[in-house]
Structure formats: C-alpha cells, structure tokens
C-alpha cells in the first residue's frame, strides 16, 4: 500500500502540472490558419538569402547578355574543321563586338591531324538595312598531310601525301538588292607553300612527275578575285527545308610570282529543296559543276583543281580522291525530321571529274549511298555524322557544315 504512494503523488503532480503549467509549445502554436501561415512566413523572414546563381547559370546569363550564342563576344572556344580532311579542330578565340555592329574575331585552332590555323576576321556593320555585308580576313593555315591521287576519274587508289601552307588576306562583299537575288564579289592575296609530307606514305614528288601532277612543289602567290550571282529563295544558306538556289561564280587566280599557274574557275550550282508534309520530309536535289580554264602555257596546280570525295562531295570516297580540270556531282537527299534541330538523311551522290569539259555527262559516274544524322540550328548545320558507302568501301564522316552550301 505504502509502496504505491509515490505513484499516487506522481499522478497527482502530473494532473496538477497539466492544469496549471502552460505547455510551452502549445503557447506558441498558431490559433488559426492565418496565424499558421504567418508563422511560416515569419520564420522564413529570419533566414532570407539573396538569390545565388550556380556557375552554369552565371555563364549562360553572360552569353545571353552578350547577345546569345550567335554573337561572339569575349573569349570562346572555336570548334569544327580547318580544311577538308583536317579532322576535328579546337582552339581559343576572342570576339569583339562594336557599338556600330562591326565584329572582330581572332581565333586559332589545332586539329587531331596536326592541322593548324590562325585567323583574324572582321565584319563591317550591316549596310542598307542589312542588304549589304562587307567582311575581310587575314588567315594562315597549315595542312601537313593532304591526299594526292593520280588525276582523273579512273585513278588508282594509290595515295601520296603532300603538305600545304596557305596565307590569305582577303575581303568580300555580298549584296541582296532585291528578294532572292544574291550578288557577291571579293578579292584577296593568297600565298601557297606546298611540299612533301612527314608521313609514312609516299610523298607526292616521289610518286608523280610534274607532267602527271602539275604544280608539284610549286609555291604560287595569287591575287584571287571572284564575282558571283544567284537566285536564292532558301530561308537560310547553312540549313533549309525549302527553296531554290541557282548560282554561278567566276574565280580568277592571277599568279603574282614567277610560274605558269594562272587560271580561271567557274562554279555552278542548281539546287531544289522540295518540302513534303509541311517540310518534315525534304527532298534535296542538286547538281554542282566546277570547270577551270587556262591561257596557253598556263596550268592549274593540282591542289587547286576541282576535286570530289570527302565530307562534302561524293562522300563515299576519301577526301580529294578524284581531281581534274572539271567536275560534276549530282546529289539527292531525303531528309526527315527527328526532332527540333535534329534531322536524319538518306543520300545518294554520283559524280565524275574529267579533263575535258565535254566529258561532263552521266556516263561512268562514281557513286555512293549514305545515311547520316544532322544537328542544326534554324539556319546553320552544326554537325553531320554520316556513313557513306562507295565502291571503295565504307566511310564515316564528321562534317561541321551543310554538305551543299
């Protein structure tokens, strides 16, 4: 009986405590929904923080404030290729945008195949409400290993290598005076320095004679001028799903140092993009020709001859696989929408090079079929990953621009 007394006291005190002691937590509990919400807000007010961006958001905001990805400003990374067969190149770049709209860009790049490039380019502010654009550049590029095959359509697959360094100072103007009409002109000084390549393949001088391969070891300096005119109804030159392009350009390469390598080249393109199902399917049909002419006693150096093969033309063949004085290539592509900014393409290329213009016909064309994935912007092709098969095997292609521009 006595032993239970402490618990009686205990229970008594508990009851007393419950009655007379204000439960501390209960005293602070809200008495209404409004108070509950206010308490939550008051608690936050004691721990306010400024908004903090993470580094990714900060960097993206800087790009936006600079005008977006399309406007280069400040340091950035340049990515792409330097020249056909250079492989992927990467390098630092710096852009400066001026208040009047002119742009200055300096960049350098180095490729996985040891190609190098340094360039300073400038674009003047748009003239006549953007109908006229004016630009220029100073560029040096070094291609230590380029392919050379015997000239002609039926050349054997024996490859020789050569190196080519090229310096250029040029300016060009493009005008769109009326809708769809595109006019262009440009002039520049170009210096070529060619020679043997430091590779385990034969050097071009070892495999070919100057008669077989004009311009071997030639280092011509040119004043290169060109004019072009065309009808272009495509919404964008780098990527489009509809429109027509009919364009011709005339180039004159006037050698400045001693040598018989002055020539002219005429390029022509006819291209029709046929949108189907509101542009979700596109048939892209084109024919392109290049033709060179020389005065008596002059020649076209082999490294400036029209060529087929590589990532842009006759994709089932290696870069520069076919060279000669004239070329023609037909391309048919069927592209389909995968999702925004991504297309797939099934393509067929057929073309030939010839020594006589009269031989540019449909006979004995080299051809390939291929399949590719395209990443693009509204008017620009950013990356092509393609597989093409010709009668010399299967090729994997990485391209950083549209195959036809």
């Amino acid at each position: 009986m006595a032993a239970s007394r402490p618990w009686r006291v205990c229970v008594g005190f508990v009851l007393l405590a419950c009655v007379i002691l204000p439960p501390p937590a209960l005293a602070q509990s809200p008495g209404s929904r409004a108070e509950a919400l206010a308490a939550e807000q008051e608690e936050k007010s004691r721990n306010l923080q400024p908004y903090k961006r993470n580094i990714f958001e900060r960097r993206l905001l800087e790009i936006e404030e600079a005008g977006g990805f399309a406007v280069v400003r400040g340091p950035f990374v340049t990515f792409g290729d330097i020249k056909q067969s250079s492989g992927v190149a990467l390098g630092p770049a710096y852009g400066k945008l001026f208040d009047n709209g002119s742009v200055l860009i300096a960049k350098g790049a180095y490729s996985i195949r040891n190609f190098k490039m340094v360039q300073l380019s400038a674009a003047a502010p748009p003239i006549a409400r953007g109908r006229v654009t004016l630009g220029g550049r100073v560029r040096w590029q070094d291609a230590p290993q380029l392919a050379a095959y015997a000239l002609g359509q039926e050349s054997p697959r024996t490859r020789a290598d050569f190196s080519e360094a090229r310096s250029e100072l040029s300016a060009q103007v493009e005008a769109r005076p009326i809708k769809f009409l595109r006019l262009g002109a440009g002039a520049g000084y170009e210096r070529y320095d060619t020679g043997g390549a430091q590779t385990n393949r034969s050097s071009v001088e070892d495999l070919f004679t100057p008669a077989e391969m004009p311009g071997i070891a030639a280092d011509p300096d040119y004043v290169h001028t060109f004019v072009s005119a065309g009808i272009d109804s495509r919404p964008g030159t780098g990527y489009s799903r509809s429109g027509t392009l009919l364009q011709a350009s005339l180039h004159d390469y006037r050698q400045q140092n001693t040598g018989p390598y002055s020539f002219q080249r005429v390029d022509g393109i006819a291209r029709q993009l046929i949108p189907i199902l509101h542009g979700n399917w596109v048939l892209d049909l084109s024919v392109r020709t290049s033709s060179t002419t020389v005065d008596a006693g002059q020649e076209v150096p082999f490294f400036l001859l029209p060529d087929l093969g590589g990532s842009g033309e006759l994709r089932g063949y290696s870069a520069y696989r076919f060279r000669d004085r004239h070329s023609i290539i037909f391309t048919g592509e069927y592209r389909w929408y995968v999702q925004e900014f991504v297309d797939m393409a099934l393509f067929y290329d057929a073309g030939k090079v010839t020594s006589r213009r009269g031989d540019l016909d449909f006979n004995r064309l080299k051809s390939n079929v291929g399949l590719g994935l395209r990443f693009h912007g509204p008017q620009t092709t950013l990356l092509r990953i393609e597989v093409a098969r010709g009668d010399e095997g299967l090729r994997l292609i990485f391209g950083f621009s549209a195959p036809i521009r």
Binding site: R5, A17, P23, S32, L37, Q41, I63, E65, E340
Partner: protein, 574 residues
Amino acid sequence: MNPINLRSSCRRGTQVAAALAAVCAATVILPAQTRRAPTFYHDDPVTTAVDSQDASNVESRELSLYYDAIINLFGRPGKPQVERAASVNTIDEVPDSSWFVNRAGSKPLTSEEVLRGPDDDRGPAEGTWMVNWKSNGVSPGFTITDSAGKRYFIKFAPPREPELGTATEVIVTRLFHALGYHVPQANISMLRPADLVIAPDARARTRTGGTRPMNRSDIDEQLSRAHRNPDGTYRVVAGSGLPGRAIEGFKYEGTRPDDPNDVIPHEDRRELRGLRVFSAWVNHTDAKAINSLDTVVTDGDRSHVRHHLIDFNAALGSAGIGKRERRDGYEYLADTGPAKRALLAFGFYIRPWMTVEYPSYRGVGRFEAERFEPETWRPRVPNPAYVRSRADDTFWAARKLLGMTDELVRAAVRAGRLTDPQAEEFLASALMERRDKIGRVFLTRVNPIADPALAADGTLKLVNPAVQYGFAQAPAGYRAVWHRFDNATGEVSSLGESDGDADALRAPSGLPTEAGSFLRVDLSAVSDAHPSWKAPVHAYFRRGADGWRLVGFDRMPDAPAMKPGTVGAEPIRK
C-alpha cells in the same frame, strides 16, 4: 537516525523525485501530444492567403533563358515526389493571393468585365508619344509616355502578320485575367510615326550591352522590322506598366529565397500546376520564368511581391514573330520518345501534328480545336509545375475554365480587334471547343463530386461538374460513408452509410449535434463508365450554431505516391 524515519525520509525523497520527474514528463510529453495542430482551424477554409511579412528588401535578379530551358529540358528541377498541391485551402480551392485571384468559375463575370481586362486603361492617348527606350529583343518595341503622361510598352507586329501576334497578346491577356492570374493590361493601338518624339533623356541599348542617347535612326530601325499599314500607321500592342518595383520573374520551381512570404515551392502551387490546363486551352507554349514578372507593391505600411504572367504573344496560333511551329503543343523541344521512333522509321513515323491542317483566317495562325488533345498537350519546354499536376489540380483548373462561358470567350476574342469577322468567329469557336475537350477529359478522369452541402436536417447535396456540363452520364447513384471526425487527433469513427442521388443523400441517424463537432463523409459515385469515380473524396463538415459547414475537402485522399511525369504527375511504380 531512526531507521523508520530514515526509511520515511527515503520514501519522501523518492516521492519528491517522482513528483519532479512527473512534472518534467508532464511538461515535455503532454504538450508534445497536444502540440499536434488541429486539422481544421476556426478560420478554415480561408479565402485569402495574406503575405504577412514586409518584402520591401527583395532584390531584382536576372534570370537566364538558356539555363531555364536547358535545366527543364534535360533535368528535373524541384522536389522528386509529387504531393497534394500546397497552396490550396482546406476545401481544395486556391485562396486569393499575390499569385491568383478567383474570378471565372468562382464568381459571376460579365462580358464587359472580360473585355475590360485588368483595368480601365484603353491604351495610349492620341497626340505626341514620347519615346523613352528602345528594346533590343527579337520583337521590335519601345517604351513610350503618351500625351497624358502615362507609360506604355509598345510591341509591333512582324511584317506580313499585322494581327496575329497583337491580337493574340490582347486576347490571351484578357483570358488569363478572367481565369484569375495577375497580368498587365494590354490594348491594340495604332501608332503614327509622325507622333513619335524622342524624349530628351531617351536611351537605346547598344549591341555591346551599354546604352547611348537614342536617335531617329533607332526608331526607323524598329519600324523597319514591323508591319506597316497602307496608310502608314502601325498596329501595336500597348501594355501598361505594372504598379510597383519590377524585380524580374519567378521560376516554376522552388521559392524566391529573399521573399519572406514565398514559402510554398512554386511547383507545388495549384495555380501553377493548373496553368498547364489553361495554357493547353490557349496553346500558350511559352510559360517560362522570363515570361513572368514579380513586382514589389506596397499596401499600407507593408510591401509584398505580386506575381504576374506576361508576354502572351506566343500563344493561340502565333509564335510572336509569325505563325507558330507545327510541333508546338505536341512535343517538347527535346522529346526522346517520338525522336527515337522517327530515327528508326526513316521518317515514316508520322506524328499527329504533321498532318494537322489549319484554317487560313487572317490573324489566327496555326490554331485549331479538332486535333487538340488536352491530356497530351505540352509546352515547348517541360514546366516543373505542369509535370507535377495531379488529377485534382487539373480538375480544379478545368472547372475554373468551364466558368468561361461562350459569352465571356467571345468578349475576350473581341478585345483582339481582328478585322475579319470570320476569323473572330473561328477563334472563339475553337476556344470553346478546346474548353469543352478539356472539361471532357479532366472533369471525368477523377471522382468529380464537388461542393457537398450538408443541411441541418442531415440531407447531403452535391454537384457533379462532369454531369452538370454534359461531359458524362449521371452515375447510377452516389454513396456516402459517414464518420465522426476528431479534429484534434484526426481519428474517425464510423456512423454508417447511405446511398442516393446528388440531391438527397440522407445521413444516418446519430449525427453529432453539439457545436464544434466534425464529420467526415467519404463520397463516391457508382458508374460503370467511370471506375475512377469509385475512389471516394473526403468531405469534412463542422457543426455550427446554424448547421453544418463544409470545412475540408480532399479529392484524392488515397492518392498513390507520385513523381513528376512526362506531362503531368505519374504514380511511382514499385
């Protein structure tokens, strides 16, 4: 010492110790039990959520469009689990707040009110318009001060589309205001270049991000990018400036860390989850952080943040600078499912949007109702609030939307001042048809019982909006399971069951009669066509002096654990 006394002393010591321990236990344990907040407070359901703290120190912040798009396309910002919306009151409604004000579907609206929009402003006064600022965005525009000294944001129409973007902006502004969102006033106006005068202190943004004095060529450059009418005027949207200090927009996830009143993660706000339904209605595919605007407004001695939706010219059939992309509303910018199929099918996987035909009315663009599918509609970029929308969120929104009668829809469309009467008629009809499609989907896929009312005599009446609007056949009957509810502990005890129709469900005998007592009634519908209606809603009533009052409502009390889904919330599969 006497052993007995010692014993007694020891016993007394034990008693004192036990008493102290008991007092401690009483002060610690018992309050802990009573600390549990009641389920319902005396002021439930609240109709207004008050911002109680001063927010005058909230600072402006710039938001990145790119970051917002990338993080939402390829990430899943916000909480990983989806729970019931946190901004609703106890009867599952969104109270009026700095985010939302109940209008359509909550109170009678007139077509004059809808036509009027957020305020009585009718656009800039005629006379000289002083240009203060030139924007540098995709759409050309100015900030002007009119002859009456009022400030406006002027947006132009793109070339060849004089009515599409401008009408869209004004119409959707009216609709979203009527639906309950804070929006700036917008009106169609006509600009005469000769009326424009550059303000002495006018600045223009340079391409490098700086500013410089504005000159006439800045105006000409803007006008050159806009549609010019044959008489030399320009049709523009004149947007009124919002009251208060602008501090940029809100994100659709998380809270603003420097706003003391912003305590509910935005992805858990019903008014933002439900925005998915309203956006689907008007094809507003561009609801993102930078298309919102927070302002600090002062009421009396306290400032708080008001949250606005802005920029509606990329809605209906417009993309702002032209007709919208056909894909808009059907796929995200990056949508892996259809992309995979398209990749493998050589283009012969025909997506639904590829075959949609649009009418060619002037000012309508790519907008139609026939192929519209409310449940699969999606914006350009996943929205953290939309992907968390549950069936109770979309039900709430659909019911609000059905408050937009034909008359109100026509009034809003009239505000767009389309010049082709057939275009106006088509647009209004398409909006009505889309509204009804939304109702048919979102009012029927969850138990639609709403607005239960319990009379003092024990007769329970309820509303079934799915039936009320003609989207479903009336169910065979309704069932009520009655419980006494303990507001302090949340415990229930059964009182019985009853069956009946929507107008008369009789309570079993023995309902409590004392004021302050609570009932929980589990209500379900018997419908073979709609098995989901068997899942009961919970309605809570409190007994007052004059009868029973609805104080609580949960449409999905037994909802499974959910996660953000592709379009809306999805159950977590174990």
